[in-house]
Structures are given as C-alpha cells and as structure tokens.
Subunit: 390 residues, 2 copies
C-alpha cells in the first residue's frame, strides 16, 4: 500500500478488523446484520455476533460462518496483495452515493442494503471517484454494435473526467472499461468475487490494467471468494449505488444489466439506455426499459451528461468557461485553495485553513501533486496556479 | 362512381357545390372561413363569400380567388376522373377522428383546423377506414433499414385489418403503402396536391395501385392543384387527424415526419417512433421524439396495436377469441346483426331494425357482400353466419 492510501484512512485497527469480520460473516446483502451494526457499532456488533449474542435475524444471517471466519487472515492476505478494506469509518468511504441505499432500504425496498465495507485494489480515492460517476453496463452476449458503442461512450465519458464503473464481465462491461482506459480516464470494476480472484479469467489482463492505470477493482467479498450466480445480482446493486447514473448499452430482455438498471431506478439514480436496431435481440432490453419509462433514451455522451446532471463537468461546459480545478472533488478543492503559490505550508496549516482533517489533507496533497495542482518544496506544499484552458 | 359510393352520400347537390367552392376559395387551413361555415352553413357561407359579404378574416382568406373559382368545373372534372368530394354532410364524412381537430382549434392550437371537405379517389368509405387507422410515416431520405421496417410494420398492421395511412412520398411513405398493399390490406394516401395530379411522378404507379386495390387517395386540394412546399405541412395535419395514431419509422432531426408526429400529439392521438442504430441520422428524429417524451418507443406491431389501443382488433387478440365480425365498423356491425340467415330483408327493414339510416344501409350492404358477411337473394338481403376462427 502506498502512503497516499494510508493517509486517507481514519478507522482504527479494531474497527477495520471488526468490519472485516462482519463483511465476511454473512453473505451480502445482510440487512439484519447491517441494522445491528448501525445500532451497536462495528466492534460491539462483531463481538456479539461471535458470541451469538444478537437478534434472531442476525443469527440467521451469520450462523454458517460466525465461528470459523478469520478476519485477521483476510486483512493480512489483502495487505500482501496491496489491497485494502475501506470501511464507513474511513474518509474515503463513499457515504454520499451509498446514502441512496440506506434511504431505499428505509423505504422498505429489499436487497439494496448498503455494504458493510468494500475491498479495494487500486489507488483511487473511493469517495472522490464515486461522486460523479456513470455506470456503463450491458450483456455478456454483446453484438459488435453494442461493444463499439460501449467503447465509444466510455471513452468520451472518461475523457470528460467522469469515472466509468462497470462489472468487468466479458462483452459490454469489458468494452466499457477498455474505452475509459483508452481515454486515459478512471474506471472502476465492481466484482462478484474477491478482488484477488481474477474472474473472468479472460479479463485478467484487463483487471490488471484497470489497477495499473489509475482505476480500481472493488468487491464486498473477502479474499479468495469465488464468483457465484447470486453474487452477480448482489454486486449489481453496488454498480447502481456507487454511481450517479447507469447507462445500459445493450441488454437482452432477461439480461442482468436490466437488473442493474432497475436497481438504479429504485435508488433514485438516473437510468439511461441506448437504442439499437429494432429487430436486435441485443437491444430488446434497452427498448423495453425506454418503452416502460424506466430509462431515458440517450444517443450521445452529451445526452448522458445532461441526463445525469453533470453539466459543467468536463467539456460539457464551453472550453472558455472551464477551470482546471473543475476536476477536483470538494475536499481536494478546499485543500488546493488553502495552498499559497509563493510560500510553502505544512499539511497541518492547510488542514487548519481548509477545515479538512489533517489525515485527509495528507492523502490529498500527493494526489494534487500528481495532477499538477501542488508541489512539495523545502518550505512545505505550494499551490501551482492553473489558468483556465483557452 | 359506383353505386356503393353514391348510396353513401347524404349531402344535397347544393351543399356539395357550396363546399367545393369553399374548399377551393381559400388555401387550407382557413380557420376564419371554417368558423364562418360553421355559423352560416355551407350554402349561405359560399354565397356571402362570393358577394364579399363576410367578416374581415374570411375576406382576407378568400380575397385571391372568391371571384374566379369555378366549383362546378371542379366537380365535373372530378366526376370524369371517378373522383368525388366528400363533405361533412355526407354519411362517410370522418367526423369522429376529425373531431380532435375542432377540439384542438377550440383550445387555441393553430394550423390544425379541420378540412372543409375532402376529395377522394377510391372506393373506401372514408368514415369507416378512419375509425381505427394508423399512420406510418417517415423521411423521403430513408435508409434500407427504415424502408424495410416501414414495409414490414405496414404489412402486419394491414394484415390485422388496420388501415395504413401515409403521405405517398418516396422513401418511408411509399414503403408503408406497399407493405399494406402486399398484405391485401387497405391503405390511404393523403396528398399535398390534387388527387388527379400524380405526384411524385415516380410514385404514379403506386398511387394507381392504391386506388385499384381497395384503398384511396385523398386531398383537400381541388382538381389540378399542384404540390407546394407549404402544402406538405398542411397535409400532414390530415394524416395525423384521420388516424388513431402515428408511427414515425425513420426521420431526420428536421424531417416533416416529426411535424406530423407533433401534430398527432397536439390532436391527442398516439405518437409512436421506431428506434434505430444510435448513430443513424435517419433515426435521429425518432430518438429525439422518444427522448423528449413526445413518442412511445415501439419495436413490434403488437406494441403499436397496444399503444393505439386497438387490442381486440385483428390478431392482437388470441385467435380463439376473435370473431370475424371484429373487422366490421360499428354501423356495419349493426347492419350485419339486423340481417337474418334464412330469410331475406329489404334495406328498409334492416334500417328500421338496425337504427341506421337507409341510405347508409344501402351503402353498407354491398360492402358486407364483398366481405362475405351478407348475400343478396330473391327475397332480399340475408346474413352469412361467420364462425370464429379456430
């Protein structure tokens, strides 16, 4: 793990260990366990589950694994692979996008419980990458039409600094990740297995590229967890939950991508679908979503950006009106603004001035440096003044 | 003109002559003239227009032609060509579908005034053919994708006894008419020129086929009127007004077919659009209509029938539940039900029993005979009992 990632943490070791236990002890989504953790906090909840001192619903969800689960081993194994467990107590927890899941669960919607934590491989800040992301999803059984459109839409979304989320499956998902990578953008793969379990094998290289080129692979499942049929549907809710909108590029009538779209709709996210030839089975699911008013028809990246309400981000705004800092998340922007161009400041000074916790500032400064917004000198961190593009 | 058509009339010669004058004296749509005719009736209105004894708005609409127009000549010319002028005083006037135009005009919508009469070439009963019709329209500049879909949708609509209306233009319109003819169904072409002015020349054979094979070509414009740019838009309102729904098969962003669709929406008719390849300019107008919630996306004839609310007509209902008489209009059904299988009845007896005017009964009986629902014998008209298809 790099210094950047470590500096972003805020959970204590005990909290993280408790979360690792809780995340593995029940098969997600585990609504009773989630509620129990909400009541008692992760440390007490984990101890009580281990002692079978918990409500019936929680007992049922955890009965199979409460005794055998070795959370220390999971954390050790992850650390060895350069992976990390991000938990709600961390600064980089994507609390805002996942709020939709708590709201929907509170309204009585089933199977959309928020995750208890997320295993992450890759150097992205999960909170920042999820604040303005679009999911580009579709069927494994894709047509060349679908794949080329997935590639193209993801390429231009990523080119506008909009992270592209997908499920790393063959077909549309893989094309979406590749398109984003092709644009040098950020892409995140949500998996139905552990982040250390390369699935599908044919996409192993793609998963490695995603991690190497500034994206991430993310999963609820502890190290070595294999994919299973039901996990794909469970995983789909995270694709919908972590993004602002879901674009279905191509999907048969019974495709899992329709499930992701439906979940996105339930979570109050924007659902979009691409039209296709009227007699193409690959577009039948898209057409059904549009016809049933469950998705907005989109034909261009402009329309995606407009639908998701991301206008003003990336090149959706006229070139002359864009500022380079438009690409920064809210915390990063406050840190940037707290820097001075001609004299250095310490992370503590910046934290004080920006009103951002010093641990978070320590994580953000190296990122700002990488992106050319800050520089570390002898006297501390300085701002690099970035003029608007002409 | 055949006996069938003559029996369907009800307007007096004076009314028809007055309407012929009124229809030619102003360029449609002529809202002031329409309102004036509504107030005074056609005979008085025509006399007053000719005498310049009418409100300013009417004077303006009729100034150019009030003195020179020779309506007798129009009626003679039409009679020679086998054409006829159908007027609101006739039984076959499509009063029900056109009611939408009066309603919209009453609400203050511009340019959707009902026609003062319609010139018709072809043996259809205009009222019956308009009670459950679908317009299939689209761009002249069509792609093979668009043309083959127009052909196919029209074919299957016509095969379900749903008359297909279109504008006889090259491209999508022509394919729609051809599809309906291919199914042995009824198709009606609304023209932006006189019914005796074969336009476009490349479709002259098609127009002749439409008339020969049981359809009709229909226009507001008096004999010899040439097409003009503005007349296409004016004509579009009739395609929308005479049908229950409009299906846009393929249309560019600025296609006239979008205008027809918009008018159909304004008139409260069902607007449908076919999706197509996302990067096809030919489908851009369809996608825009769907995206802007001005049209329902449809991918099959079943969905067209469902959208238009024609379920129960044709094979939309399960085969076993369909009755042969489902294809009959309301008057025709009442006439059919008033016949007896074993003893003949006179048109007068049928009229009495059915509560349908005798002139209308005289028009419907030969039609029922052609369609195999009735037979003329020595003792009068008898019912042919038609069992439901297996």
């Amino acid at each position: 793990m790099t210094a950047v990632v470590e500096d972003q943490t805020a959970a204590t070791d005990s909290e993280r260990l408790a979360r690792a236990y809780l995340l593995g002890v029940a098969e997600p989504p585990a609504p009773h366990l989630l509620a129990f953790v909400g009541e008692r906090g992760p440390i007490e909840a984990a101890a009580r589950v281990r002692a079978k001192d918990c409500p019936d619903g929680v007992l049922r969800e955890t009965a199979a694994r409460y005794k055998t689960l070795n959370a220390e081993l999971h954390l050790e194994s992850a650390a060895k692979s350069g992976d990390r467990l991000v938990v709600p107590e961390d600064h980089e927890w994507p609390a805002w996008p996942l709020l939709s899941m708590a709201v929907a669960t509170g309204r009585g919607v089933k199977d959309v419980a928020a995750p208890l934590g997320l295993w992450v491989r890759g150097r992205v800040n999960l909170a920042e990458v999820s604040t303005r992301a679009v999911a580009v999803v579709g069927a494994r059984n894709a047509t060349p039409y679908g794949e080329s459109n997935a590639l193209e839409f993801a390429y231009f979304l990523a080119g506008r600094q909009i992270p592209v989320f997908s499920g790393a499956a063959i077909g549309i998902d893989a094309a979406a990740h590749r398109g984003a990578l092709g644009a040098g953008g950020v892409t995140v793969a949500l998996l139905a297995c552990a982040v250390d379990y390369a699935y599908p094998a044919s996409n192993a290289n793609l998963l490695q590229r995603i991690v190497d080129e500034g994206g991430a692979i993310v999963s609820e499942y502890p190290p070595t967890t294999k994919p299973a049929r039901h996990r794909f549907l469970v995983r789909n809710r995270l694709i919908a939950g972590l993004t602002d909108g879901t674009l279905v590029v191509e999907a048969g009538i019974r495709s899992g991508a329709r499930n992701t779209a439906t979940t996105a709709g339930v979570l109050g996210k924007v659902v979009m679908a691409l039209p296709g030839p009227v007699d193409s089975g690959g577009s039948a699911g898209c057409h059904a979503l549009i016809r049933e008013d469950k998705a907005t028809l989109v034909t261009s990246v402009d329309e995606v950006v407009e639908s998701v309400g991301l206008i003003g981000i990336g090149s959706a705004a006229p070139e002359s009106q864009r500022r380079p800092t438009d690409v920064l998340g809210p915390d990063a922007l406050r840190v940037y603004d707290a820097l001075l161009p001609r004299s250095g400041r310490s992370p503590e000074q910046v934290a004080q001035s920006a009103g951002v916790p010093v641990s978070r500032v320590r994580g953000l400064l190296p990122e700002l440096e990488i992106d050319g917004f800050a520089v570390r000198g002898d006297t501390g961190w300085r701002q690099i003044v970035r003029r608007a593009a002409r």
